[in-house]
Symmetry: C2
Subunit: 370 residues, 2 copies
């Protein structure tokens, strides 16, 4: 048989499959109407299990696995359509329009010239900054209303996700309302008069130390970790020892430190993304990205089946990150970003569906990705 | 219409769908035979695009997204079956049987009493340990054949993935051949005679510092990061200042340090997993987990479609982690673990398929998960 003949046959089969698929979805719509009218749950585990068992058993040798995935996916798609009916006019998330112009109180880790502070000045024309020593105080200030906004690093292109920010995101109530991205170029700075060859100790934030590990290993420096690069620079300024800080050039200049070497990070292309958080839900008009946090059941293919939902809704996932949950034996929480706007129905339906189906689900904000 | 009537109709539709699905897969098998005979590639992008465009266009209003996912998944399933034919008798990965009994040279980060050293003694009865200051030297020693095996931490249940290990895994050639898991309980240790109230400085590895952040924040201690907990303890032993180390109790005892406080980590349930690496591929008889590393195309639903392959093969993914690739603007590499044995055909077929389809794919080992 020639390839074109086989393909013609496949086309014929596909036509019939498409008709039957549409018919099945229509029938499922009727089931949904019935369930809504009678207050029944969309997902009926036993019925689904039964169907999978029947079709897998009836499948030809070698096609069992394929048939199982085929029917499971089809039923997952049909569930999405049923939820679409169920959550048709619910699930709207109230939000206020984001406006960063004018004067705002912003909680910022570190001090003047910290990368967080630089990111803050990229977002606000006129920020009334409140500086804090560590990340948890930023969440506390925002939760308690002491600050309208807070800024935090979330990921660096060399050192990876900022685990501490993720851990706190699970613990506090807040929404992400904006993002900033900085190209990070660290310098090595010391008190005026201190010579490079006399330096044995380097102070900085652990992420910055990791981004500059080549310099530290080559020079066999002793690395000391501070809660922030700018606070490390302040320490170096006050110290009487011949030591240096890894910090931004701006920070070194502001403090009157001497820049001994510029661009000391391992990778020339070194970026950090920051999130702007608030207690209320604010959304910019051009918001295009949604962040959520969720737990998945301990079942094979639970991630696959979650992604079916995004695919059916036509929403593109742009990031997935699993983070261990502290004080458990490697239980994980998933953090996902996808493209979308909470003003759109397909988004609110999906969010309703996820919060309805999953044991833990949290909407973390809708903002413009940079 | 009553629920049972609708369901009876659905059952009827499902029966027809199953027949047509089996028929389509059979026809695809013929296509595969033709392609193999004529040396054509399994994936023909244009043909697939055309089918998706046709069926989406012909779909009823509101069913376009669902129809697209339905056909895309069906074609992905059929590709898996075609690859199964293509890679039927290829893709075998040669391996030697893992045997950790007897004496072996093992590269271990840190020194006596480091957590890596404790993990090493859980795996080997009689290890000839070679200690190294940093993780990269472990990979180098194993690559160069200076050590038969090397041990490295890979993830901690509080502090997350060990980013540095992941980064090095991409750069060096090696295979994971075993795993060890330790319950980690840190102590605060100082030279004999040093009092807790005189301590302002704490030395340890950055992961251990992060696991003990509550202690450090409450006491407003200055944290100093060392490449290893045991090397930090050695430093504290030699120091003339009143400082302390965060390390294992074994390490403190071995060095003759005084344990000022036990179990100082934030979380009572605190575990670290270690990997044992080798230059050759070794596999234990009870190996049940496979690790791979891969890059995905910058396309919506590329992760979803990757997971379709695992689902069809009936192989359960147990871990997924995305890590930024240094010196790029947030390009990521995916690390996946799944249950399986490279002695089984469904596994070698999937591995062949992945290495054939993806621009970057690396098999990292097959070992017993603990």
């Amino acid at each position: 048989m020639d390839l074109n003949d086989i393909r013609a046959e496949i086309n014929e089969v596909d036509k019939q499959l498409q008709e039957l698929f549409s018919k099945r979805m229509e029938l499922c719509g009727k089931v949904a109407d019935y369930k809504i009218a009678n207050g029944l749950p969309v997902f009926q585990k036993d019925r689904e299990k039964q169907i999978i068992a029947n079709v897998t058993e009836g499948a030809p040798e070698g096609l069992q696995g394929a048939t199982r995935v085929y029917f499971q996916t089809m039923m997952d798609i049909s569930k999405c359509l049923q939820y679409r009916k169920m959550f048709d006019n619910t699930g709207f998330i109230p939000f206020k329009k984001l406006d960063l112009s004018g004067r705002h109180r912003v909680a910022v880790p570190g001090t003047f010239g910290s990368y967080n502070h630089i990111a803050c000045s990229e977002l606000f024309e006129d920020a009334d900054t409140m500086f804090f020593d560590n990340f948890e105080e930023i969440f506390k200030a925002v939760s308690a209303g002491a600050a309208e906004f807070g800024i935090l690093p979330i990921i660096n292109s060399t050192a990876g996700s900022v685990v501490q920010t993720y851990e706190l995101m699970r613990q506090y109530d807040f929404k992400i309302c904006a993002q900033a991205k900085l190209k990070i170029s660290h310098c090595l700075a010391a008190r005026k008069g201190v010579r490079l060859e006399d330096i044995h100790d380097i102070y900085s934030h652990e992420q910055a130390l990791r981004q500059c590990s080549d310099l530290i290993n080559r020079g066999a420096y002793k690395a000391h970790s501070f809660s922030n690069t700018s606070l490390a620079a302040c320490y170096v300024k006050e110290s009487t020892e011949p030591c240096a800080a890894i910090c931004s050039e701006k920070c070194a200049e502001d403090l009157g430190l001497e820049i001994l070497r510029r661009s000391v990070q391992n990778a020339a292309e070194n970026y950090t993304k920051f999130i702007l958080i608030s207690h209320e839900t604010f959304k910019a008009d051009n918001a295009d990205t949604i962040s959520v946090c969720l737990a998945l059941p301990h079942q094979s293919s639970s991630l696959y089946r979650l992604l079916t939902k995004f695919s059916v809704a036509g929403l593109n996932m742009t990031m997935i990150e699993s983070m261990p949950i502290a004080n458990t034996e490697f239980d994980v929480m998933f953090y996902l970003d996808f493209k979308g706007d909470i003003g759109k129905k397909e988004v609110t339906t999906l969010l309703s569906e996820l919060s309805h189906e999953l044991s833990y689900f949290k909407f973390l904000g809708n903002y413009k990705e940079v």
